[in-house]
């Protein structure tokens, strides 16, 4: 359950940053991405998948959230 810092890049894409792992990647797709509901499965630029507990309403970004790593497949 890494702590993930989320921030918007200048071009509007979400950046997924895990300090302990030196991981800075863009988020390519999010399962739920609307002002009412946000989260679910996300796919990063390098193809790895993580899972955020869906939140209602969407969190204010930048923020730090817990994510679960999903097995690649």
């Amino acid at each position: 359950m890494p702590s993930v810092m989320l921030r918007k890049r200048e071009d509007g894409k979400l950046l997924f940053y895990v300090a302990k792992k030196d991981l800075e990647e863009t988020i390519e797709t999010i399962e739920f991405d609307s002002p009412e509901k946000w989260g679910g499965e996300v796919v990063l630029g390098d193809g790895s998948k993580y899972y955020f507990e869906p939140m209602e309403p969407a969190p204010k970004i930048p923020t730090t959230l817990q994510a679960k790593r999903l097995a690649e497949g």
Binding site: R7, Y17, A19, D22, E24, G45, T64
Partner: protein, 493 residues
């Protein structure tokens, strides 16, 4: 020597790796790479921020070096106690040339060494009482200090002293900010973790001090300069440019900085990050907690300065945008003259760099402005995100080396034959004795500043006087020089 092709660089890396035992070879191979601009992510070609191999010569420092030496040390009106045995503080004292204004020993303490001087007794019985006494003595002898930070050396973590408790008690007693920093040298693989720990200590013990206090009058143009350590006056040369374009610099982190400035930083509108490696953590934190955006900038060389000034200005209204153009126009004649003078003397010269966590990529633009080419670069303690940002700056098929060992670096220089090597004091005399011109790029070789337009002029002069120094021609003993070369001497005699 012409630029190397991909195959040649690959062959060079293989040749250098040849001497290692099988296991070491496998490990080091991951840290040496050939730059490929088409890659988006560096983790496809290079591994970084890993433990150095036992037995090789690395030039990395420790977590204490990252915290006391880099982040906390330059905060001039605080006293930084090197808590532990005397050596760590004494041998790193005043070595970094972070300039500051003030009267040392009265209201500023930058070049002084404070230590709790642990002895065997303190290891056996614990050093908390000694630390408390140390803080009391500091209060008596240096009453104008604005705060104290406790920089842990290795034994503190090993014997489990409770420096946080001492800090809290003494904070109540003296009413001053007292910050315990758990930066024991054994933590992490290099000084990089020390930066992170230091950032976290600022976050936990300093940054919130003025939350809810709005007495500080703000303007829409407030910015903070973060990650500029004022080496040889760098932060001053940067600050003038920002102020000239109409911004108000509220805080300097941490070169020539004060604790009051740090406490005021959460009130600014934009954080400007120069040294990304050592200060990005706190910038990310402020973005999250105080919604302050941050951007990275680069004040080495006119091309990058102009680019950065415009990027900074984009975050503000038109007066600042005009201000940026005005600043660039004002210095144009000056830097054009510098380029006109030095470019003919430096054009085509090839440079290899090996520096800490920021300059391996930031100074490339300045060299290119002078017509020089960087053919190899590497970080002592960079992470993947640093290499991500480096790939695009470097040419194709150039060398990248992470945490390079003494042996590898020497071999690379022998084979690539650069006209200049830029690295630190530990490399300087090796390369000079090999006959390769060398500049220290950590301390600017006791020169500087190199930031800003003023700094660029000094940078160009320094590179010229190093590369074109007549001493490099006198490297061969006179009786070993060829007869043809000594002809003119005879004629004069």
């Amino acid at each position: 020597m012409a630029a190397m092709t991909r195959e040649e660089t690959e062959a060079l890396i293989q040749e250098v790796l040849e001497v290692y035992p099988e296991k070491a070879k496998k490990d080091r191979a991951k840290h040496l790479a050939i730059n490929d601009q088409s890659l988006e992510k560096s983790n496809k070609c290079i591994t970084s921020n890993r433990k150095s191999l036992p037995g090789v010569m690395t030039i990395r420092g420790c977590a204490y070096a990252g915290s006391k030496g880099v982040v906390w040390g330059p905060i001039k009106d605080m006293i930084h106690i090197s808590h532990g045995p005397v050596g760590c503080g004494q041998y790193s004292r005043a070595g970094r040339r972070n300039y500051y204004v003030g009267t040392t020993g009265v209201n500023t303490f930058g070049t002084m060494n404070f230590t709790s001087d642990f002895t065997e007794k303190d290891i056996v019985f614990g050093g908390d009482k000694k630390l408390a006494k140390c803080i009391d003595e500091i209060e008596t002898l240096f009453p104008l200090n604005k705060g104290i930070s406790i920089q842990s050396e290795c034994p503190i973590g090993l014997i489990g002293d409770d420096i946080e408790a001492v800090s809290k008690v003494k904070h109540k007693e003296h009413g001053k900010t007292i910050v315990p920093v758990r930066c024991e040298g054994f933590r992490g693989v290099s000084q990089s973790l020390g930066h992170h720990i230091a950032n976290d200590a600022i976050r936990d013990w300093v940054l919130e001090n003025r939350d809810g206090d709005d007495s500080f009058p703000t303007t829409p143009y407030d910015v903070a300069v973060i990650g500029d350590y004022n080496i040889g006056g760098d932060a001053w040369a940067s600050r003038t440019l920002l102020e000239e374009m109409g911004l108000r610099v509220v805080a300097q982190w941490s070169g020539d900085g004060t604790i009051a400035e740090i406490e005021k930083t959460p009130k600014v509108k934009l954080n400007l990050i120069h040294c990304y490696r050592s200060m990005n953590y706190i910038a990310r934190h402020m973005e999250e907690k105080y919604s302050i955006p941050w951007i990275e900038y680069n004040f080495f060389g006119p091309t990058k300065i102009a680019e950065s000034l415009r990027r900074i200005a984009e975050h503000f209204d038109d007066t600042i945008k005009e201000g940026a153009e005005r600043v660039i126009a004002r210095y144009k004649a000056e830097y054009d003259a510098v380029i006109a003078k030095y470019k003919p003397r430096l054009e085509g010269k090839r440079v290899m760099l090996y520096i800490g966590g920021l300059r391996p990529r930031h100074v490339i633009g300045a060299y290119e402005d002078l017509g020089m080419e960087v053919v190899g670069t590497g970080y002592e303690f960079g992470h993947n995100d640093d290499y991500d940002r480096t790939i695009k700056e470097m040419g194709n098929a150039t060398l990248l080396y992470d945490d390079v060992t003494g042996y590898e670096f020497e071999e690379f220089v022998k084979k690539v034959q650069p006209d200049l090597v830029g690295s630190g004091i530990k490399e300087k005399y090796i390369f000079q004795k090999m006959g390769v011109p060398f500049r220290q790029m950590h301390s600017w070789d006791y020169s500087g500043p190199y930031h800003g337009y003023d700094g660029f002029a000094i940078f160009a002069r320094d590179m010229d006087m190093t590369i074109n120094n007549p001493c490099w021609k006198s490297f061969k003993a006179p009786w070993k020089t060829e007869a043809t070369e000594s002809e003119p001497v005879k004629a004069v005699a």
